[in-house]
Every structure is written in structure tokens, then in C-alpha cells.
């Protein structure tokens, strides 16, 4: 307990403030900007600065719309444009009419519907197991704290320093011949869910958050006769919604994005998620239908992002805070 405790004390308070500010972050940000940044109020009143700030606005707006939104808008347009028009006039808006049938063909004939379900299944399982492992381990290491906790904590954190590439081949062979059970996990979702759950970063995030929760509440609950499980389920988890939200977003996004690992352990097309299936069907699919398939696959993450925008952005900033 000696070595990790002091070093983790400081970031954990910082993290707590960050998380406490999750809901109010945008207001905080604009307040800080309103308070002052690099430019002082005096600077902003200067003519040259005013003109350049207007220029900055234009550059930021045009640049970000073109780079951030442009490719997606183009994809949305191309998804309902016949192949020939996309190939010969990529920037003309439907010179020969809109082809809505692309979307239907992609959904039914390339079976985007099925791969979509597979992707959701992969993401849901990864999310569940990542939360399960992160919360139980975080609770044991932070609240229950047996004598050997620092050793386990060190072993978990050590895996953060091992680059993912090292795991690729041995993990694949482990999935082929897992210990104790006699069947290969190949082509089962366990092969994606369980390795995803062995995520030290999640445990680090959750444990640091639990470290910052007030001990007095746990003591009071214990005095009232609550056992370790009840403290975990009825007190610690409800108090930890912000961090569980962050871990959930990370888990779902990572599962949605993952390509190489599902490619290796799910060779059967019937169970493959979109990320693995899309490159595979490319060569046998007409371009307009393929672009429609790409557009459909992008829709859900974009909608999730727009709905949970604040959680995404604060989660991304939080990732930086922890790395720092």
C-alpha cells in the first residue's frame, strides 16, 4: 500500500473534480474562456486582434466543416447516388436522380442487417464484461483492500506497459486452446468479450474513482449491517455513475471499432461484425451499394455521439487527464 497510495492520491482528487464537473463541463469551459485565456480583454479590444480573431473563426468553421463533416456528407450523398454518377461526377448532386434502392439492397442483399446485429452483440458483451471486471476488481482493490491488493494492482498496471502487439499471437493460440475447457473459443463471441475485459485502463479509472469516494458512507452502511456485496451494489455503484458512463462509452466504441482481433478469432462470416465484413464484401459489391453499406454502418456511432456528446468529449478529455 505504501508505494502506489501517495502517487495515486493526487490524480484521484483531480479526477474526482473532473468527474464532478462532467455535467457542468461545458459551462466551465466557456466560463474559463470568458474569464480569460491567452488573450486579455485589452488584447481583444485591439483592432488587429479583432480582425484576426474573426479570421480564426472563419478558418476554424470552414476547416472543421470541410474536414469533419464533409466526408460524412459526401458519404450520405453517395449512398443514394448511382455508381456511374459517383465515379464520373463525384461532387455533382444527383445529376441522374436519387437511387434510394441502394440502401435497401445493402441492408437485405449484403446482409448488413445480420452483421449489424453481430456488431451490437459484440459491443454489448464487451460492455458487460468490461464493466463487470472493472467494478468488481476496482471495489476489491480500492474498498475491500486485502493485504495483497498492492501486488495485484501492480500486476494489473504492468499490463498497461505491454504493447498490444505482444499479445496478438499468444492470445490467438490461447483462444484456440483455452486452459481447463476442452473446446476452442474460435467463432464464439467469448473470444472477443473476455480479452476485451482484461483491460487495465478500465480498472485504473474505476479504482481511482472509488479511491475518492467518502469512506464514512461505507462505514455507516457496515454499522447498519450491510455486507460487502450490499455496500458494492447499493452504495458504491450508484455513487459511481459518472465513471461507469465513461467506461461504457469507451467499451462500446472500442468494440465497434475493433478490426484485427475479430478478424482473427471470428473467421466464420455468419458471426462477423461489420468492421470485419465490410472489407470482405467490397470486391463483390457494386460501388453505390457498398457506399450505402458504409453509410449505414456509420449511422449508429454518429447518432450515439450526437446523443451522448458531452459524455464522449469529457471522456476523451479524461483519457488525457489520466495519461497526464
Amino acid at each position: 500500500m505504501t508505494a502506489p497510495a501517495p502517487s495515486s492520491a493526487q490524480p484521484s482528487t483531480a479526477l474526482r473534480q473532473k468527474l464532478a464537473g462532467l455535467g457542468t463541463r461545458r459551462r466551465d469551459a466557456s466560463d474559463a474562456g470568458g474569464d480569460r485565456g491567452i488573450l486579455s480583454g485589452h488584447d481583444r479590444r485591439k483592432r488587429g486582434v479583432r480582425v484576426s480573431m474573426a479570421g480564426v473563426h472563419v478558418v476554424l468553421f470552414v476547416g472543421l466543416v470541410v474536414a469533419g463533416l464533409g466526408p460524412l456528407l459526401w458519404l450520405a450523398k453517395a449512398a443514394v447516388t448511382p455508381t456511374q454518377d459517383t465515379l464520373s461526377h463525384p461532387f455533382e448532386l444527383w445529376p441522374n436522380g436519387i437511387d434510394w434502392a441502394n440502401l435497401e439492397t445493402a441492408w437485405n442483399d449484403i446482409h448488413i442487417d445480420q452483421y449489424f446485429l453481430n456488431t451490437i452483440w459484440v459491443a454489448a458483451g464487451s460492455w458487460f464484461f468490461q464493466l463487470l471486471i472493472a467494478t468488481t476488481a476496482g471495489y476489491a482493490l480500492s474498498v475491500l483492500r486485502p493485504k495483497y491488493a498492492p501486488i495485484l494492482n501492480g500486476l494489473v498496471l504492468a499490463t498497461l506497459f505491454v504493447p498490444a502487439v505482444v499479445l496478438l499471437v499468444p492470445l490467438y493460440l490461447t483462444v484456440l486452446h483455452p486452459p481447463l475447457i476442452d473446446t476452442s473459443l474460435l467463432n464464439t463471441y467469448w473470444a472477443v468479450w473476455l480479452p476485451a475485459a482484461a483491460n487495465a485502463f478500465n480498472i485504473l479509472l474505476v479504482k481511482r474513482f472509488f479511491d475518492g469516494l467518502p469512506r464514512e458512507v461505507f462505514e455507516a452502511a457496515r454499522t447498519d449491517g450491510a455486507g460487502p456485496f450490499r455496500v458494492f451494489w447499493s452504495i458504491v455503484l450508484p455513487m459511481s455513475k459518472p465513471i461507469l458512463g465513461v467506461v461504457s462509452v469507451f467499451a462500446v466504441i472500442a468494440a465497434w471499432k475493433d478490426f484485427l482481433w475479430p478478424l482473427l478469432v471470428l473467421p466464420d462470416p455468419a458471426v462477423q461484425p461489420l468492421s470485419v465484413r465490410l472489407p470482405a464484401v467490397q470486391s463483390q459489391t457494386e460501388l453505390d451499394v457498398f457506399l450505402a453499406a458504409l453509410a449505414i454502418s456509420t449511422l449508429i456511432p454518429i447518432v450515439l455521439f450526437l446523443v451522448f456528446q458531452r459524455l464522449f468529449l469529457s471522456g476523451a478529455g479524461l483519457g488525457g487527464a489520466v495519461k497526464g
Binding site: 491567452i38 486579455s40 473563426h57 469533419g68 476488481a137 499468444p170 490467438y172 475485459a197
Partner: protein, 331 residues
């Protein structure tokens, strides 16, 4: 029911373990003088194990054991039929003698270098500009982060269409507006790697921008006030206040980017498959080929040997890097 009763009686002992305060530290040794299986059980030892079990199983099987196994396997000849055989340093020797290794290392360095050149300063500049605008910050952050939300596979496949080398391709049409002749993009060994890096930068910049924005908010405004009292202009405030305040996060992001780009796989695999003429063959793609694309069946030993060499190289690099930057930041 009985477990709750046990817990109640042992609550003070657990409180002592939970608080590393001096008085608790002084109290606990006397309470823990005799440790028997019974005291362990009564102290909630079973509960501890129950909560740790999922993590121990999952990490044991899917993290700790494979890490150990990668070291073992790099000294073995492994196939899926017969038992592994110890072969000493043969795997390493064979990898080092592979003529493709030099190409792969050079290409990976080229990718990492270009990615640093394009991808490291851009998010910093964007974040500093975005933190100074007063209206529309939320909109700008969302727009900047949008490419990060697009699944990487979709992004690469879409950009592959953009990179269509015909004069009517998306990017070539845009270049045509500016009077620039069409480029071969992915088709030519000279332009293939920069094309990959441009897409990778587009896909990753948003995440870095958000991290820098969060760091910029944490810069104490008093420092700017003080710099102004000393007569600093805008550029000197950026140079002497903003960047030094971001130093820690900049150092971390730099090494993380190097570690990430050294393991680049998705872009070369999906864009070009390592071509044309091995111009985009990276180290990770070579590892993948050893293990999963070899006509003779999986060369797992060679693949783990190369993974291990890459990991050790990255480990040494980070260690050296932190040693160096540590000296700079204490000065």
C-alpha cells in the same frame, strides 16, 4: 444473514485497513498478530476473493499468461499439431535475416515520422485557436471529434474511394479545381505512404484536440496576467506560458503517438495490403504475415520473436525518453 453479522463485528478491522492514517497503522499490528485461516475468513477473505475472482481469471488467461507465453514462444518452434520444440535464438536469427524486415522497419519509421510531422503540431494549433474563440466552442469540438467517431474500417474504405486515381476521383477533382494534375495516391510507391498518413491524421486529430482543450482550460489565468505585467505580447504568452504549461501532456502525447504509430496495421492492411511493391509494408503487417498469411502455415515463433523485439525497442525508447524529458522538466 450470518455473513452480515460477521462483517459487523469486523468492521473496525476493515476500517483500519481502509485508512492508511498513522493512528490506524499503529493500531493494526496488534490486531493482526495472530493470523489463522479463521481470522482470514472472518475478516472477509472469501468476499475479497469473490470480488477478485472475475479479474484474476480474465487477466490470468487473457493477459498475464499470454504475455509470459510470448516470451516462451519466441524461443520455441510452435505449430498447432505437435508439441513445441525449444530452438534457442533461431526465430530471432530468421527474422533478422529476412530481407523484408529492413523494408518494414524503414516503412514504419517513415510512417511514424510523417505522422509526427503532420499529426503532432496540427491538433495543438487547432486546440489553442479553439480555446480562444468565445462562441461556438461546443460546435467546433463536436465537428473536430466527428472523424474519431467514424469506425476506422469505414473511414479507410471511404478514403480508398476518395483516393481513386482517375482524374474524376474525389481528391483529384478537388486538385483539378486548383489546377493541380491528378495524383496516383495509393497506386504509386512514392505517394502511397503519405496518403496513408493523411487519412490516419484525419482520423486521430480530433481525439488529441479534445485532450489539449482540456489541458488548456487548466492553465491558471494568473500566469497570463503576470506575463502581461512583464510586457509579454500574444506570441510570447503562447511561447512562455501556454506551451510550458502544456509541456507534461505534450511529452506524453508525443511518446504515445510514437508507440501507436509503430504498431500501425489497419491503414496499410486495408488501403494497400503492404503494396505497391512493399512500399507500405510495416512491422505489424510483417508480424501478421508471419503468423496468419504464411503459405507454410503459421510461423508463430518468428511472429512472437518480432513482436517481442518491437515491444522491447518501444520499452527502451519510452524509458530513454522519460529519462531525457525528466531532466528537461526539472531544469
Amino acid at each position: 444473514m450470518s455473513t452480515t453479522a460477521i462483517d459487523q463485528t469486523d468492521a473496525p478491522a476493515e476500517a483500519g485497513a481502509g485508512h492508511p492514517s498513522p493512528e490506524a497503522a499503529a493500531r493494526t499490528p496488534s490486531r493482526r498478530r495472530r493470523r489463522t485461516p479463521l481470522t482470514w475468513l472472518r475478516g472477509g477473505g472469501l468476499w475479497n476473493l469473490a470480488f477478485l475472482a472475475p479479474m484474476l481469471i480474465v487477466f490470468g488467461v487473457f493477459s498475464w499468461w499470454p504475455i509470459a507465453r510470448s516470451v516462451i514462444m519466441s524461443f520455441q518452434k510452435t505449430n498447432l499439431i505437435s508439441d513445441p520444440v525449444w530452438v534457442g535464438l533461431d526465430n530471432f536469427a530468421r527474422v533478422l535475416a529476412d530481407p523484408n524486415l529492413g523494408t518494414a522497419v524503414a516503412n514504419t519509421l517513415y510512417f511514424a515520422g510523417l505522422a509526427l510531422l503532420f499529426g503532432f503540431p496540427l491538433p495543438i494549433i487547432m486546440a489553442v485557436l479553439m480555446s480562444e474563440v468565445r462562441r461556438g466552442k461546443g460546435l467546433y469540438s463536436a465537428l473536430a471529434y466527428l472523424p474519431v467517431v467514424v469506425p476506422p474500417v469505414v473511414a479507410v474504405l471511404l478514403w480508398k474511394v476518395f483516393y481513386n486515381a482517375s482524374p474524376d476521383g474525389v481528391f483529384n477533382t478537388i486538385l483539378g479545381w486548383a489546377g493541380i494534375p491528378p495524383q496516383p495516391w495509393l497506386q504509386s510507391p512514392a505517394t502511397a505512404m503519405p496518403s496513408l498518413v493523411i487519412e490516419a491524421t484525419w482520423a486521430a486529430a480530433g481525439g488529441s484536440i479534445i485532450i489539449y482543450l482540456a489541458a488548456l482550460i487548466a492553465v491558471p489565468p494568473e500566469l497570463y496576467d503576470a506575463a502581461e505585467v512583464d510586457g509579454a505580447g500574444i506570441w510570447r504568452k503562447i511561447w512562455h506560458v501556454t506551451l510550458p504549461q502544456l509541456r507534461g501532456i505534450l511529452f506524453i502525447m508525443l511518446i504515445l503517438q510514437v508507440i501507436g504509430t509503430a504498431q500501425v496495421f489497419l491503414e496499410p492492411y486495408l488501403f494497400t495490403g503492404g503494396g505497391p511493391n512493399n512500399a507500405t509494408l510495416t512491422v505489424l503487417l510483417l508480424i501478421y504475415r508471419y503468423a496468419f498469411q504464411n503459405s507454410l502455415g503459421g510461423a508463430y515463433g518468428e511472429a512472437t520473436a518480432l513482436s517481442l523485439m518491437l515491444a522491447v525497442f518501444l520499452g527502451l525508447l519510452s524509458w530513454l525518453y522519460f529519462k531525457l524529458t525528466d531532466r528537461w522538466s526539472t531544469n
